[in-house]
Symmetry: D2
Subunit: 375 residues, 4 copies
């Protein structure tokens, strides 16, 4: 019997916790009450001020500071994890052991070993699990997936993916937790990599071999507490990766936090025997598609305006209006809840997350070895 | 003393009523609880099914089918009107008489006469009033306004504005209420015109003279009830307008529902002595700005990436992420509530709405006269 | 019997005379010796220094300062006229009377009356005649013509054309001959109008009615001889035109010399029942084409990369390389010579030029009348 | 004493020989007779039909089939080499030994060893030498060089360069000479690489280390003589390269002949401490420049319209008109002749060519070693 309501508990009310909470609240408007009633049950943050704020802002029924309290309740069905990477493992494991469905921010774990253990547990649990990879839920990328599924691209020759930010160009930007390997497991590869590498995996397939190059341009930065004290940075600002895919395609991916001029620039291009696709997250309303099977003199990249063209039951707003970044979170969370209600396997799930961790792991090994390594 | 909460009543739960309700719900997330607590008090729709749906979807405390019931309550501070144009007048008048602040969908009234009477009443009432012109609240357009305020453009030579839709290209699209002059007061000029003409007014100034051309390409369409029966269309599919502004600039504006290839294409370009600006609603995250005072060999249109760069207290999401259409409604309604809380004059208000009706009125007179008319 | 060579005489070696001469020299390379041998016979300029320079630079066999000398020779087959507008009439008439084929810079004449007389004479003469409207010979526009010929656009609803320059924004720019009505017959309408109005005519058809608005933003400018002396400007800096076409379409065109930020911005957009087209001369290598008969969810503007894709016998360079402005002159002149060799009617010819003058004439009458006039 | 004329001999009248010949003919028009009189003396092609055609088409004084005949003449000052790579070495050596100035198509030689020997000889000879790297002579790239020279970009973090063609996607395309290592020395790296790698060198500096990946997607292709016979392809269709520069920057470059959708797509992006630049050869009239030292809220990529903005004495056509691919050849050859006349060192010369060959050589070694190699 399908559940008629899902009761959500969110762990972590920082930036992402707030966005996820907002998205749960927005689902009933965008999807006309589908897939079921959503109850914002509890919000947990080790910082009580934030936990309280979450309760008030989003209308949770209660707040707490110990996530076990949330996880152990019987009136919570879904646990949504928005804490820093280092803290994912314990919370995911506890949630799965308590038979909650788990929605977890990317990357799933601190490292490959943790990710594999989580997956094993998740598959045994019978619970639904999904990783936050909201870009799969942008209509332009959904259209790209639809097209690759129809062999629009054909045998792939090239994948080229970038994820460029510029926030760390300022040498005075402090050495915050995000710049400590101990806290996050790596640098920009771990931070931005999961997004573009997930799309690569989604649209092109699995990686066989990788060769990576990393650089830390700013090797020390001021302490957040004392700007006169310089602290070492032990994670990379930029990473460049060459790939060979199992299907024979060649790939390139690059992530950078010092790509001057970039705001939130995730781009990809795919070239294949039958066609080509291109996308830029800064123009999220467009998919570029080139059909090489059209007559030569009529070929060109077609700018498919995808805007709010979500499949039903999405009904708000009218499909001609532009969408922005936050809409993709609403769609990702809707999809997760819909999979729970209709007992389908969510995607991307922890299995995808493990493949991603394998690529991250291989990339760092490649840097150490200065050459190619198998995934 | 500043109010600590505002209690909202919405009239009409069609597409726009739902969007406005959603936006009130979203404000606390985007603005961290500012400007005050928002209570979704009551929703009214003459169709009870819709009224009930609004109550459930958005969490209003009650619903009703007679708007007087909503307007006459003491526990409602703000009336938000989302009904068809023809019905605005009576509701706005009743709300003002009941001393409610009024947020009204564009255009304010059925015709200029009604608009003037509303304005007179509004100014006497001491209540706050704002017209839905959400595009003023897109960061790119806020940046354009900031720049024009700094004389970035200088003396204006040209304004060129388009608002293009394509939804009525299909001859089989039925003759719905939007295609009846009696219901809406006009065609695409009344439907899309208010948006682009408001931006024109906002950025360039007041119109002195207008010369308009209209056309109804599909002079009859099937009845919504009986596709075999053809009904006359008495409103225009397209309108082209030449303007002279009071400040000496020349202007052009065009609205069309048969602009094949357009989704929601509101574009404008402004050329002046010092610089130029350009915007396209399909790329809402960008403002193009040309500075003619830079050295000649370094000039060019700069693509200012405005994305979620709303002024504080907007805090969600991070300002590097793209925004979409719906975000501008949140900002417009936030601004209205903020004006009530802080006792400032909202903008665009009913005074702006009257100027807009004067332009609409002059445009239709120009068509009748086949020549130029004064506004 | 086809001619095996054509002997060219050029009148006027200013900027345009030089470009035409260059283009004749370039034809053998681009077209592999087609359509026949081209002999640069004589160059005439009333300024002997320029005439001599033309001889040396382009390799003409002789130079002269009186165009009758050139026109009256038996060893000249083609007269190419590159003088200011005011001087076209006498030279064209003399050339036609001397049974030369005539290639004439736009606009054909000083006014409609002259243009009609030229056409009458040209048609009697049996000589070939073509007007310089080189933009018809850009591959992107050739592709647009091909598509409209295939009913890709279908019944046209809208044409929207702009030709924007910015060279006259500087108030210190002198009152040169181009700003005197006596010399050129009008302002920007006469200068830039012929290009965009020719493309409009080419792709959409004939105009029935026009309503125009002109403005001279800088009503006086410094004398070229004495910057302290201000001279009146009696021609418009900008013109805005509304059209009704004979086929029922609506049109808009605008020309300006004070469009800040524009280099050489000729743009057009056409919307019709079946599709839409768009072009911008600043991106001459692309035609945007929207096919409204494709499935809705796959629609979009396709950027057809037209580059050097001229029809055979054009062979240089490879068709994948970008083309620029000057290439279109080579193609236009090739086409004219090819029509002579193969005894076909060139296009656009003096008949097209007369229609253009009719539109220019009607536009100025409309300004005087402040309303609509028939063409 | 400055030469008053330069007498040119061209070797090879295939596609490139024709383009170079055209460009010499065009120089007097574009540059008003500068830098001196140009005499097209002789054209040589081992295929006499082509040699004759060159003579007629371009107006050379004589033709021949043995290049020694051309090189040994006293009335030839400049030798321009347009033969396949394999044949460069012997001709360049002979020309230098005969004390001719040499303009040579890229890449200079078959391999690094040959290139070094040529350079040694060239430097001894005192003759001027330049390599065809015409993209340095596009105004947009000249502007990029000017900006990097002014520290607009500052310390470079990233270079990203692509050169994408799609001509070899068709499996039926024959195994022509360009696909034989013996004839050309390599695959797409040797064919398209010199262009983008030259620009990289020009704008960013010298490479220290490289790691490359190549792939031949179509391992055999039909014989040009007998489509039923399949011949092996021993050169790569695609190459991906990671770089570390001597200045600490990271680089990526990719060349492909199977990049579906690409016409002639050479793109690059540079990100540095102070700014960023971007260029795409398919939009040759634009340079994108981002100034990170502007106020944050006014930043953006500025689209500098470079069009025909060549430095004087370039005078044709007016600088507002778009330029295309072929114009860059005219500028490159003008620059070479100007260096001869004014006794300056041309750039890029054979020294640059040797650095390029070092990078190509290192790249192929990297492929063999499956890892990083020093240049």
């Amino acid at each position: 019997m399908k559940p008629t309501e899902l009761r959500i508990g969110v762990i972590g009310y920082g930036q992402m916790g707030r966005i996820h909470s907002y998205a749960y609240r927005a689902i009933p408007f965008y999807y006309d009450g589908q897939p079921c009633k959503i109850v914002l049950k509890g919000i947990c943050d080790s910082n009580e001020t934030l936990a309280k704020k979450g309760k008030e802002q989003a209308g949770f029924e209660f707040h707490c500071t110990d996530y076990h309290e949330l996880i152990n309740r019987n009136d919570v069905d879904v646990i949504d994890i928005c804490t820093p990477n280092k803290q994912h493992y314990a919370a995911v494991v506890a949630a799965l052991q308590s038979r909650k469905h788990v929605y977890c921010e990317k990357p799933l774990a601190y490292d490959l070993r943790e990710a594999k253990k989580i997956l094993e547990l998740a598959e045994k649990s019978g619970c639904k699990h999904q990783i936050t990879a909201e870009y799969r839920f942008i209509p332009a990328i959904m259209k790209a997936k639809e097209l690759t599924g129809e062999d629009f691209v054909g045998k792939v020759f090239h994948f080229r993916g970038l994820y460029l930010h510029s926030g760390y160009i300022d040498p005075k930007r402090p050495r915050e937790w995000r710049l400590q390997k101990e806290m996050i497991g790596g640098g920009v590869l771990v931070d931005l990599g999961p997004h573009i590498l997930d799309i690569m995996h989604h649209l092109v397939g699995e990686v066989e071999e990788v060769c990576a190059l990393t650089e830390t341009f700013f090797k020390e930065r001021p302490s957040p507490e004392n700007p006169k004290e310089m602290l070492p940075v032990d994670v990379e600002d930029a990473v460049l990766l060459l790939f060979r895919f199992r299907n024979g395609a060649l790939g390139y991916a690059e992530m950078s936090r010092v790509a001057t001029g970039a705001e939130d620039e995730m781009r990809f291009e795919i070239h294949g025997q039958n066609g080509a696709l291109a996308f830029n997250l800064m123009k999220p309303n467009e998919l570029l598609a080139f059909n090489a099977r059209e007559p030569r003199d009529r070929q060109g990249f077609k700018v498919i305006t995808t805007v709010q063209k979500y499949p039903p039951p999405a009904v708000m707003p009218a499909p001609k209006f532009t969408m922005g970044w936050i809409r993709s979170h609403v769609a990702a969370q809707y999809s997760f809840l819909d999979c729970i209600v209709n007992d389908r396997m969510p995607s991307p799930n922890f299995r995808d997350a493990v493949h991603l961790h394998q690529v991250l792991d291989a990339a760092y090994r490649s840097v150490g070895k200065k050459g190619w390594v198998k995934v």
